[in-house]
Amino acid sequence: MKIDGKTIQWVAELSQLYLSAGEEAEMKRHLVAILDYMAILNELDLEDVEPTSHTLGYSNVMRDDIAKESFDVGIVEDLAPRWEKGHIVVPRVV
């Protein structure tokens, strides 16, 4: 996969990141290095290998449907970047 300026801008947009021209160039360098490494792995012949979605080897880890205590709302308030009227406040999204 070829990484160009457009790809970087697209990924930045999806991540809601605003990158300077310098940062864009640096990101590009990093991503190219990562993908070059992946290209080496891609040379393996995996025709007959099932895709791995889990490596732990077990399944069905579940809990019962019983409610436990949630956070005290004060903790949520402390975690919020801005807090008003019991809500986390963020810049308008629509």
Binding site: S53, H54, N60, A67, K68, V73, V76, G86, P91, V94
Partner: protein, 485 residues
Amino acid sequence: MNLEAVIGLEIHVQLNTKTKTFCSCSTGFGAVPNTHTCPVCLGLPGALPVFNRDVLKKGVMAGLALNCTICSYSVFARKNYFYPDLPKAYQISQFEHPLNRAGFVRIKDERGKERSIGITRAHLEEDAGKLVHDDDPKGPSFIDLNRCGMPLLEIVTEPDLRTPDEAYRFLVAVKEILQYTEVSECSMEKGELRVDVNVSLRETGEDAFGVKQEVKNLNSFANVKRALEYEIKRQSRLIRSGERLTQQTRLFDVSKNATVQMRTKESAHDYRYFPDPDLVPIELSPQEIDGIRETLPELPEERRDRIKAQYGLTDYDVEVLCSSHKIARYFEDSARGYKRPKKIANWIHTEVMRALNETGKDIESFAVTPERLRELFEIMDGGVISGKLAKAVFDEMAASGETAAEVVERKGMRQLSDREEIVDVVEAVIRDHAAVTDEYRSGKKKAFGFLVGQVMKRTGGKANPKIVNELLKEKLSNQPGVEDH
């Protein structure tokens, strides 16, 4: 150019478990904002999700009720996107390995013809938080994360629907199935059932699909129908005038009764699904699936057929009674052990429905319980009150919460069945209406009804109509001429 619509739906249903999908926070409705939160549903670093076994059970039940194949192996995946209602910046959903595949729901179309609507998949996922925007368009957005992590089942249909009316019927059928199965209350007001539609037009008979438009923000089935009607008109106008459509996401604007293009910065999506490494796969054996199948209650179609046969009802009766599983249950509880269920059925779709409409009550909180309704019928059959009076008694029962016997006693509504008392009234009526009586005797049979009416009037409607009829006939035929008394 003959155009036909191709419609597909995505339905999000909230499963009614006590706790969220991956944490032990309550799913209770209407809590103080942000109080049903914990490290898991706030996406705090290091917090690990653990799957709720009841979400799985209800997901399988819904899948079975929707005639799906339950997958023996399913996997949770991360759907990545950035939005303030999603603290983890990914939604846990199912992608490559959904829980349920390839189902169908049968509906009847406008002309009563049976249609089978395919369900592509019905997978599990968690809900996102709720955003409220400031009244001031320049103001901020507020987030309530109580909804974050609530269990959802997303039902995706095949593009099998052809008209807005079919889409409406399908939604009604799906909602009914989910309510019967008791996996969700499906309250649209509480946002427990949300619908997105996609619709495209193509020349009738063609196989290829046109350019589809997605419509979101549909908060009632009526709006789904309206939005589809609007979209079909809009698209057909564009196509006929030779314009090219581009794929769009639109919103339904209730005030304009129209769909409008969504203005959003979020048009860019590239979810990069991958298996969630924090959650292990779900494996279900055929025995486990059968075990859940055994807990399935009777579904709407089966119940309709059975009720019709068991109680000797008409299609219309069954349609009304089974419009909700609660009404159907009410009917069956009322009719239990009663010999003329058809009478109860009629009463439910006239009197009970009217009373519910008037009081705005739910059948479950209705003062006239099934047992009390049956009691009313037994009192009526026993000749204590007439059918006409029964309506008044019923209204009293609904208003006061008394039993039929209590109302009859308190209001002195007991039917007059004492022949001696009635005979006096009958004779008085004959005496006072000599002209009419003569008309009757000279062959004008219609006059009889008038005389019955007079007797009923004088007894305040309490006289047993059967006895009144008998006595009137007897007196009118036995006594030619005016009788001395």
